[in-house]
């Protein structure tokens, strides 16, 4: 074994122009940004206010920034695949050789699920949940920072695989025996496994954090049935994280043991059972999609109620439906492998449960519709994303009900029909939800709104582009086209795939519109300034704070008497039944102290992960040692809180009164 394990210069793919071009471009971009930041003197500010921050609002923003950047990479992978499939028909070979194409579809799935959707959802929950609950932060703020930085570590490792080594070529589930050492001897699967193991720890800790926060830390008077619906969906989602991610951790540990120590969990010889991997993967995998979509449903509930000017229809049934989905999501997983060979009775059981789980979602859709009915709906950007979701997701969900029938699934399993289905639920469901949330809460986070016109343009491009890109796949799927094809001989598929390519280009325009929206909004931020803290005439507690809120969120924790407490208060003030309280005395507030633990943990994790991937054992040893030292430093720290003096609290509070206007 050399000093650098398996690592040598042949790990860098100098002979692949597309990769080298991308790596070069990214390297230039990173160096430019870092240089600009350093030369402008922003490093101390960034370190103090963002990198070492344990404030849930800052961490939430960082998650979303991470996710949006990775959306660019994941989308690039997607459009590369569309382009390849648009041209590689019959005699044409396209521009991506199979070994590269395989890495692209594997990276696309991995990045979109783990490094776009998860951070978007977790970031939005991070930002909004404590504010909606009327408290100052989550239960474990330092651990929150560690969670974020571990996710960032996974992102870094996955992206490093582009420049040094390769990524997995197994698809984003990494089924054995293909993912075993025998058939994937390179480092690709190891990059996949270690990136996800590391970020998985972060996610699990987030789950623990939010379950504890929602169950044990709410404003006085906020009983469970007075919590905003978004908090209920956040609770359900985080319960699922706690229940599902450990299974993935165990599963990846078993595959890693097979690959590193020659164990036989899933090998073809010595008694291994590859089907068990598939089973356990989807035990995690199905709850995962509900982890993603439930908070999105919560965002839709908030947006619908706020912009209809009405309380959400059927609050109790929403809560019941959410918790029902939470439990039911753990009873359907076999529908991901109907064709693996289980008997008809087993398939039928899971087919039935898969259909049942559509019912509570249907309840939610009706509740949203009834909320809007009779209300005065303002067609803002978040509402457009919501309506786009309602229209699209119902159809996507219906194709899911189709697929729930084992007999149907046997025809279209692993075809692009399936690909169309899951994009049809994830994009309108999760992505549109996160876009709605992003536009909805942006003014709260930054103090100015996002530009409406570019926001609407972005929405329409996404909505039209999405349908153009994925509806043809239903057709070609029914025509027999399998997923993950680098090349095909059935020329009658090509016209449809050309339409799909056009759709991808329209989505690209949509993404550009969103980037422009951000730039324009920052340029015109004074015109778009949110001076009141309540730009949408909101209903929940976060709108009672300044935009952006101070570190301590609330000078005094609000006393809550009913659902939509802020809205109720505003109505009473307007009806002159209540006077806003004028506070004369403020108390000092203790807030959690910043900590570099998260960032250091990330550094150690990346070093350890990289070392393990390349079999650089001494470096891995140092990494583990570093982790131990970091843990000790955290354990023995003396001060974990900082006191904000009462007059500072008072100054801010008096400078940012809540204005109630009709």
């Amino acid at each position: 074994m050399t000093l650098l394990g398996k690592l040598d210069w042949s790990a860098v793919p100098f002979d692949q122009p597309i990769i080298m071009g991308t790596v070069g471009g990214v390297a230039v971009a990173i160096v430019s940004i870092l240089s600009w930041v350093t030369l402008k003197g922003y490093v101390p500010y960034l370190w103090r206010e963002w990198i070492t921050s344990v404030d849930h609002k800052r961490i939430g923003v960082m998650y979303i920034v991470l996710a949006l950047v990775m959306l660019l990479r994941g989308f690039a992978d997607g459009i590369m695949m569309r382009t390849q499939q648009a041209v590689a028909a019959g005699g044409a070979q396209g521009y991506l050789p199979p070994e590269h194409f395989d890495q692209i579809f594997s990276a696309h799935g991995t990045i979109m699920i783990f490094f776009v959707a998860m951070p978007l959802v977790i970031g939005l929950m991070n930002f909004a949940v404590p504010l909606q609950l009327g408290v100052r932060d989550v239960a474990f703020p330092t651990m929150n920072s560690i969670s974020f930085w571990l996710t960032a570590s996974g992102v870094l490792l996955t992206n490093v695989s582009l420049a040094v080594g390769e990524f997995a070529k197994t698809g984003w589930f990494a089924y054995p025996p293909l993912s075993e050492l025998q058939f994937s001897p390179g480092v690709g699967v190891d990059y996949y496994l270690w990136s996800l193991q590391i970020s998985g720890v972060g996610t699990l800790l987030s789950g623990v954090n939010f379950v504890t926060t929602i169950l044990k830390m709410r404003a006085p008077g906020m009983s469970y049935m007075r919590m905003p619906v978004f908090c209920w969906t956040a609770l359900a989602s985080n319960l699922l994280i706690v229940a599902a991610f450990p299974v993935l951790t165990a599963l990846f540990a078993m595959l890693l043991l097979d690959r590193y120590l020659g164990f036989h969990f899933f090998t073809v010889d010595a008694g291994g059972n590859a089907m068990m991997y598939v089973n356990l993967f989807w035990v995690w995998g199905h709850p995962e999609v509900y982890i993603l979509v439930l908070p999105a449903f919560g965002i839709f509930s908030e947006v619908t109620a706020t912009f209809s000017g009405k309380s959400l229809f059927g609050y109790r049934s929403m809560v019941l439906a959410t918790m029902a989905i939470c439990v039911l999501s753990y009873t359907v997983w076999l529908h991901h492998f109907f064709t693996m060979g289980a008997s008809a009775s087993v398939n039928a059981f899971f087919g039935i449960t898969s259909m049942i789980i559509g019912v509570p979602t249907g309840v939610k859709v009706f509740n949203w519709l009834f909320t809007m009915y009779g209300g005065r709906v303002r067609f803002t950007v978040p509402v457009l994303w919501t309506i786009g979701f309602m229209v699209s997701f119902v159809f996507g969900g219906l194709t899911g009900v189709l697929l729930a029938l084992p007999a149907v699934d046997w025809q279209v399993h692993n075809s692009v029909f399936l690909v169309a289905h899951f994009h049809h639920v994830i994009i309108p469901g999760v992505l549109f939800g996160c876009m709605a949330g992003y536009n909805y809460w942006f003014p709260k986070a930054f103090g100015f709104k996002l530009d409406e016109r570019w926001g609407k343009a972005a929405f329409w491009c996404w909505f039209i582009g999405f349908h153009l890109a994925f509806m043809p796949l239903y057709v070609t799927g029914l025509m027999g086209m399998p997923r993950r094809l680098q090349h095909y001989d059935v020329l009658s598929w090509q016209p449809w795939l050309l339409v799909a390519e056009a759709g991808a280009l329209v989505i690209l325009i949509g993404i550009i519109c969103q980037i422009v929206q951000l730039v324009v909004s920052i340029r015109h931020r004074e015109k778009l300034r949110d001076t009141t803290g309540d730009p949408w005439n909101g209903r929940t507690l976060e709108w009672s704070t300044a935009s952006p809120p101070p570190a301590w969120n609330f000078a005094v924790l609000p006393r809550v008497d009913e659902l939509d407490a802020f809205w109720a208060h505003k109505q009473r003030v307007l009806a002159k039944q209540e006077l806003p309280v004028r506070r004369h005395a403020y108390r000092p507030i203790e807030v959690p102290k910043n900590s570099p633990v998260g960032f250091v943990t990330a550094f150690v994790a990346v070093v350890t992960g990289f070392a393990l991937i390349w079999h650089i054992w001494w470096m891995a040893g140092f990494g583990v040692l570093g982790a131990a030292v970091t843990l000790l430093a955290f354990m023995f720290r003396t001060k974990d809180e900082v006191e904000i003096p009462a007059n500072e609290v008072g100054l801010f509070d008096r400078a940012h009164p809540v204005e109630v206007s009709p």
Binding site: A243, M275, M276, G341
Partner: protein, 131 residues
């Protein structure tokens, strides 16, 4: 804010404030728990090794004894009770138990079914599971 705290952390003794708990009552609880656990454990070992019990019933008996032992640990060592102050803790535990049950039972049924249909049946090689 000195309103009565009704909530209890998992593992804490319920209701009685810590300062008022008699040291001896805690000692009794733990000792009783130990005795019960020892009895159940010894019984498990006996059940597994004796011929006095009808063989097909032995796994079920062991399972029941294991569940009883876990219950003893939860109640006597971890103080998980059904009082109103412990609701969150009990609900969390119930959720965990539900998930464990779904994962275990689901996986066992599914894998048994899959293995029966898909794994090679050879008498010569000991490759497949027989459950």
């Amino acid at each position: 804010m000195t309103e009565m705290r009704w909530d209890v952390a998992p593992g804490d003794r319920p209701t009685i404030p810590v300062s008022e708990q008699k040291a001896s009552s805690g000692f009794l609880v733990y000792t009783l728990g130990l005795l019960l656990a020892v009895i159940l454990t010894v019984t498990s070992f006996w059940v597994a090794n004796t011929t006095a019990i009808w063989a097909p019933g032995v796994p079920a008996g062991l399972a029941v004894l294991a569940i009883a032992q876990m219950g003893v640990h939860l109640v006597f060592f971890l103080h998980i009770t059904t009082g109103p102050d412990s609701t969150n803790n009990v609900l969390a535990l119930a959720f965990g138990v539900l998930i464990v049950f779904l994962v275990l039972a689901g996986s066992l049924v599914i894998m048994a079914n899959l293995n029966e249909n898909m794994m090679p049946h050879t008498e010569l090689m000991n490759l497949q599971m027989q459950r």
